[in-house]
Amino acid sequence: MVSEPSAPLVGVLALQGDFADHEAALQAAGLRTRQVRTAADLRGLHGLVLPGGESTTMLKLLDVDGLWGPLGYALRSGVPVFATCAGMILLAETVENPSQRSYGLLPITVVRNGYGRQYHSGTFPLRSDVLPAGTTGTFIRAPRVAAVGEGCEVLAWRDGDPALVQKGVILAAGFHPELQHGVHPVVARFAGMVRERAGVVVG
């Protein structure tokens, strides 16, 4: 899968987690990707992805590598951001079970491992007005969104819980569209956001 050299460039935080799956999914949607491990890797990006993985591990590595500040700047720069699972936890305003530091860019409360341990992971139907009927989400030790604040739109639900939320150019899912076969509608939505705003780059 080779993306056009002129395609928008999306940075995928590559400290730990399923960043390679995100890259494959974005490339399948026609975008170029770059793994982000240092502040220098952030320059010139048209979009950013915070992947799944362990949020505690990512927090430690963001700190010791001096990336917490530069990444925060990039996340607020106006480029589209897509976060899944651990990435959603990093963006949430409030994190529970246990509480931990986060960027707070999304006015949501998330409960880590809110659906239980791995035994309870699986692929579940999503209820949504914006995604095609029959769209499913793979939830892996997923965070449960317990509350959604002002300005944050819920785009999809798993039973009674918000599973996909968006505020402005920030899109976050408790599930893993990057793990599912084909171009998942949520990845397609993010790719559309990036193309629409391709004039905005991280300076």
């Binding site: 400290l15 987690g17 390679a20 362990e54 590595l61 699972c85 246990p98 341990r117 791995q118 793990l179």
Partner: protein, 305 residues
Amino acid sequence: MATLHPIPHVPGFTAEELDSKIGFCEQLKGGVIMDVIDPTQARIAEDAGACAVMALERVPADIRKHGGVARASDPDMISGIQKAVSIPVMAKVRIGHFVEAQMLESMEVDCIDESEVLTPADEEFQIDKRGFRTPFVCGCRDLGEALRRIHEGAAMIRTKGEAGTGNVVEAVRHMRALMTGIRSLQGLERTLLERKAVELRVPYELVAWVAEHQKLPVPNFSAGGVATPADAALMMQLGAEAVFVGSGIFKSGDPVKRAKAIVRATTHFNDPKALVEVSRGLGEPMVGIDIHQMAPQERLAGRGV
């Protein structure tokens, strides 16, 4: 259409199981899974940035020292660690001991390691891992062992290395053998791949998938002898997608510092400057064992073929 982890059809696997089991293992990539024997060590590991912990009563170095039959850990000990941390908790069962595995599944352990580090319970059959909801990781020394474990339902493969030695040489040997095995399938015509499948005792579809994609259909991690940040980076550069560290951390002089250093080294495995930084002043590493000084019966990697 992208096919991100299209494991070939294996009887007994459902698509949902593949999403969930392999999806779980994908989340551990680029991370370090640390052996811990109590809640205190588990918290140290989590605090250092481990992406998961392996709960066991004795690290491999002590299993070697004590001798005797090594079995699955006391449920109390595993529960204590599950309560202590928010990251995934794995635990080991003896090769072929499906009842120990049933017990760990009922305790909702996040991943089961059917491990040669414990004394095998069955010298002929490994566990049929397809019947479990819980993902399994299994060790391998080469492509044949890896594919046989995947066919049995393993959702993650790791090199066996030689656990509890603090010596990375066997992990390197196994990773190289695995990668060479994968490359050797490239471009082979169907009849040769069919012959290879017979030789490796796995379905043709599995061999054909690897030949085409030039990787395993499940995550490929490393274990068995990693003791330093440089060892972890070495395994990553050789193709590992994450690293298990057993005795190497808590048998060293300064486990906190070493654990953090190995986590950073696994992320920045391609950056020698960063590796130099993390390797400074780590204190005493665990004392290693020269593989060539070991008697054949002391080697664990020959278990489960």
